[in-house]
């Protein structure tokens, strides 16, 4: 026997960011407690809107299966005295099982005979388990900011108004967050304020749809995407639709209705990014572009009602948008009244981080570090100085104050307006790239350098004052910065070691930095750890990165080249046996315990044809690759190794390394040492785990 289960919690409008996570967690917790109660069930559906969280679970087992209970008591020996009275231990055991001694049985094992209690426990009805399951699931929800209301002590994300709990067509009555469960839900706040009787769990979605509520979050999300795209297309535009905005809009409507509205074309003088930010962040509206990607003076808003006068909703939204854009235009005009550089003194008053000085202090440190990068990155010295001076100025402007995510970009616009070098303006825009893992990298060397010095300063400073991230805690986003450093350095061909950069940054901080411990020494491993996961994210096997790191662990550009070469190498048919040979060579040399520095092979001592062939081939390859290392031509080097496979295999097939003759043996070991050096020149290929 099974029945469908429906639980719906009705509340006042939930915070948009909580709608989906709460229902997801609720569903997970409920299914987990069903599993714990050994209740089978079918498909699980999550419904969520601003005013409701609901979980529908198909075919939940109606009663737990009966369980055979078996408890072992004390050993039989000596538990019944001469008068036939049970010992204290036996009486206690019977009591703990809730039966008399006469009702106990005995079991025999190899070790003797024991008292036992055996019974069939009937399963509990699901309806009897549901009240505590529901309440426990709710009590465990992670609510960022719980609240109380009225005189109550109950806490939830917003005041709770109703709860539906059905098992099949039956109501399961219980108390949830101060309300009594029933079958009455409520429709759309304005289109259908009356109660909706939910006749059965599976009827929930359709009944609510009749009451102007699209309860299915994902369906509603898709509706919004479709409506917005269609409306944009009708007018020949493309909608700008970031995922986060779609999620947010989905979380604040129950009955989405996309509407197209306009703004004055004059606002298009303001940078498009600022306009888009104003539309998205403040108004939760979708910006529109024409087919050339240019912003057009229209936007789409998603209403929560099917208005009897949509024009009124549209003109209302237009009015607000005008005010928002006026504000952006105001800041843009106001900010340009003084040149960007004039905002620099104000950075002295802004704390970068409690123990790392002001924003101005940071800028000065960045300048010194930038100086260090002038040569390796072939920067123009004057530009490097200027761009660093200007780098944090836009943080002081009204526009960035209002829209912090426009940092860098506004600096770029204002610098251009001031007639700064185009390279400088562009680098200002690039300084925060990459902002997230998959984000674009700066294109110019100046931008790379600026992004790099900013992050190195942040990383070194934070590690020095003991702010290394631990577990989930990473308030200063150091992991993200470290990953950015990795991605940036991979693209810089100049010979720049990570350790040198860290030392240089530390040097720039100088005595101003009160170090709390020795955590700076953990920065390089921390960054390389990010590198490791960066490559893993690209589908590169961990041991492949390790193989390269065994040879190169400091110069990231070189590491990347080696990894790419190695990725090509492992595609070769020879790779498997060369890697295996490498492992074998390692073992032999290790067991022989002979120092491997001396790799002079004496030709006279080579006896077997196989070792002679190997040595010849070895020398030939050595000669070919010798000049390639300085050019970093790792692909070529590795591909040359392929020609060693047959001689190496033949060597192991026909040559006994541990010959009785000491001189011959040592000569062979030296040959292998030399082979090892050649095979592992680019990466320690013995670490690879390849299968043929």
């Amino acid at each position: 026997m099974s029945n469908d289960l429906l639980f719906e919690l009705g509340s006042e409008e939930l915070p948009s960011g909580a709608v989906w996570p709460l229902v997801d967690e609720l569903a997970n917790r409920l299914t987990a407690s069903l599993a714990k109660a050994t209740l089978q069930h079918g498909k699980v559906y999550r419904y969520a809107s601003p005013r409701r969280l609901a979980v529908l679970i198909h075919d939940v087992q109606a009663t737990q299966a009966s369980q055979q209970l078996s408890r072992r008591g004390p050993a039989c020996a000596g538990t019944i005295d001469s008068q036939g009275q049970p010992s204290k231990a036996l009486a206690g055991f019977a009591k703990s099982c809730g039966v008399t001694v006469a009702e106990l049985t005995t079991i025999k094992t190899e070790k003797g005979e024991w008292w036992a209690y055996e019974a069939m426990m009937p399963g509990v009805n699901t309806t009897d388990l549901l009240p505590s399951m529901i309440n426990e699931a709710i009590a465990g929800l992670s609510i960022a900011k719980p609240m109380r209301w009225g005189r109550g002590e109950v806490e939830f994300a917003r005041p709770v108004h109703w709860a539906v709990l059905l098992f099949g067509e039956q109501v399961v009555t219980t108390e949830v967050l101060g309300v009594t469960t029933g079958r009455q839900s409520v429709g759309h706040r304005f289109h259908h304020p009356q109660a909706v009787d939910i006749v059965s769990p599976r009827a929930y979605e359709a009944l609510l749809k009749d009451a102007f509520v699209v309860a299915d979050f994902k369906m509603r999300r898709q509706m919004i995407i479709d409506q917005v795209q269609q409306l944009a297309k009708q007018h020949g535009f493309d909608a700008v639709m970031p995922e986060a905005l779609i999620d947010e809009v989905t979380s604040i409507v129950e009955w989405p209705q996309a509407l197209l509205a306009d703004f004055e074309p004059a606002f298009l003088d303001v940078p498009a990014e600022a306009l888009i930010a104003a539309m998205q962040i403040h108004q939760k509206c979708f910006a529109l572009r024409d087919h050339e990607g240019k912003l057009v003076p229209h936007f789409i808003t998603v209403a929560n009602i099917q208005s009897s006068n949509p024009q009124q909703v549209i003109s209302g939204n237009e009015k607000v948008m005008r005010a928002r854009l006026s504000d952006a235009a105001f800041f843009y005009r106001q900010d340009k009244k003084q040149p960007l550089i004039d905002y620099a003194p104000a950075t002295a008053n802004v704390v970068f981080q409690a123990r790392l000085g002001s924003l101005q202090d940071k800028t000065l440190r960045m300048q010194a570090l930038m100086n260090y990068l002038v040569h390796p990155l072939a920067l123009e010295s004057a530009q490097a100085l200027r761009v660093t001076e200007l780098s944090k100025c836009d943080l002081m402007t009204g526009m960035v104050g209002e829209f912090p995510e426009l940092q860098g970009l506004m600096g770029c616009y204002y610098a251009r307006h001031d007639g700064e070098d185009e390279a400088v303006a562009q680098a200002l825009n690039e300084q925060y790239l990459p902002r997230f893992a998959a984000d674009a990298l700066p294109q110019s060397n100046l931008g790379i350098a600026l992004s790099l010095v900013d992050r190195l300063d942040t990383l070194v400073g934070n590690f020095a004052i003991g702010q290394k991230p631990t577990g989930m805690k990473d308030p200063f986003k150091l992991r993200r910065h470290a990953l950015a450093v990795v991605r940036l350095l991979i693209g810089v061909p100049a010979a720049m070691n990570l350790s040198t950069l860290i030392d240089e940054t530390l040097h720039v901080y100088g005595s101003s930095l009160k170090q709390t411990g020795n955590e700076v020494s953990q920065l390089q491993p921390f960054i390389l750890e990010r590198m490791q996961s960066f490559y893993q994210g690209q589908g590169v096997a961990a041991e492949l990165v390790q193989a390269v790191r065994a040879r190169q662990d400091d110069w990231l550009f070189d590491i990347d080249k080696r990894i790419n070469a190695l990725l090509e190498f492992i595609k070769l048919p020879e790779a498997v046996s060369l890697s295996a040979a490498c492992k074998r060579v390692n073992n032999i040399l290790q067991q022989a315990g002979m120092p491997t520095e001396n790799q002079t092979v004496e030709q006279d001592l080579l006896e077997e044809p196989a070792e002679k062939i190997l040595f010849n081939q070895l020398q030939a390859v050595e000669e070919q690759v010798a000049s390639r290392y300085s050019a970093g031509d790792y692909g070529m080097i590795l591909s040359q190794l392929a020609s060693l496979r047959d001689p190496v295999d033949a060597f192991f097939d026909h040559v006994m390394v541990m010959a009785d003759n000491q001189a011959i043996k040592n000569n062979r070991l030296r040959l292998l040492a030399r082979l090892q050096r050649l095979l592992q020149g680019v990466a320690d290929i013995s670490l690879l785990q390849l299968s043929s």
């Binding site: 409008e13 209301w149 009225g150 005189r151 917003r158 009015k319």
Partner: protein, 306 residues
């Protein structure tokens, strides 16, 4: 009541509506404050176990929001219509929507939304959860369930509704600029909001941003702070609270003059918050000494008393 056609009609309608709901109609606080929340009828009455329902208009000043009268809906002086219901009734949202209906708003025509907006006043040591209410995308009200005031948990919880009167009026009266809305209509013609306040915006923006005497304001802040502390020690929470309000406004003016750096800013906020906490505690003790006189006043909101 017919649909309001002037700014003052809107105030009258709201007053009438909330009076019917059993609120005490109070008058504005006669001091410079940033929001209706600063009125003792909200901030102090939210403290302790007593019931309380009140409504009032509060002129509010936010020096940094000044735009020299050039922005059609951003000003440094504006009006809030404030309603506080303690304890917050379960149908508070419906009551609020009824007040909009009384103003002629039809939620089947206009898109009304409750969009998450949590309120925190660092200076008052107060926070609450709630929404901004949108009418066709325009924020027309703030809706807050107070959770903590002056560092003390709110038990019971006060529900606070704050109508931004100018924005709401622009919507209801159909004007794009607040300065063009009619304040009242008389036989002599229409007096607009701009007639009443435009010059004030221009001059006050100039004062706030350019001429406010920074040195004197810093002194004023220090004076008010010392005075508030003294009054708390004398167990006079109400005059002490007035000093907190004055200090807070001096701080806002200094902010508009960019006279306070980010680091210092935190420190100033902390100083005002410490005072607010001390005042809140002193007020609680003073009410307790009086036996919480309003504790057993039955909550009349929701009953038609006409």
């Amino acid at each position: 009541m017919t649909k309001p056609s002037t700014f003052q009609d809107i105030i009258l309608t709201l007053q009438q509506f909330w009076a019917t709901q059993g609120c005490a109609l109070l008058q504005p606080l006669d001091m410079e404050v940033g929001a209706g929340t600063f009125h003792p009828a909200t901030f102090l009455r939210a403290i302790g176990p007593e019931s309380w329902s009140a409504a009032y208009v509060q002129p509010s000043r936010r020096p940094t929001d000044g735009r020299y009268g050039e922005n059609p809906n951003r000003v440094q002086h504006y009006y809030q219509f404030q309603v506080v219901l303690k304890p917050s009734p379960l149908d508070i949202q419906e009551k609020y929507l009824d007040s909009l209906r009384a103003l002629g708003v039809d939620p089947l025509v206009d898109d009304i939304r409750f969009v998450e907006d949590n309120w925190e006043s660092p200076t008052l040591g107060a926070w609450g959860l709630g929404w901004e209410v949108w009418q066709n995308g325009m924020e027309v009200s703030q809706f807050t369930y107070f959770q903590q005031v002056g560092g003390m948990p709110c038990k019971p919880v006060t529900g606070e509704l704050t109508y931004g009167l100018e924005r709401l009026a622009m919507f209801i009266l159909g004007f794009d600029s607040m300065f063009d809305m009619p304040w009242c209509k008389s036989a002599q013609g229409v007096v607009t909001y701009g007639d009443v306040f435009h010059q004030n915006e221009v001059e006050m923006s100039a004062y706030n941003f350019e001429h406010a005497n920074v040195e004197a304001l810093f002194k004023q802040f220090d004076y008010c702070e010392a005075e508030a502390q003294k009054l708390v020690d004398l167990q006079l929470p109400l005059p002490a609270y007035e000093m907190v309000i004055k200090a807070s406004h001096a701080f806002n003016l200094l902010d508009a003059r960019h006279a306070i750096s980010v680091t210092e800013r935190q420190r100033y906020i902390l100083r005002v918050r410490q005072l607010s906490r001390a005042v809140a505690l002193a007020y609680y003790q003073a009410r307790e000494a009086l036996g919480f006189p309003l504790k057993h006043i039955s909550h009349s909101v929701g009953r038609n008393i006409e």
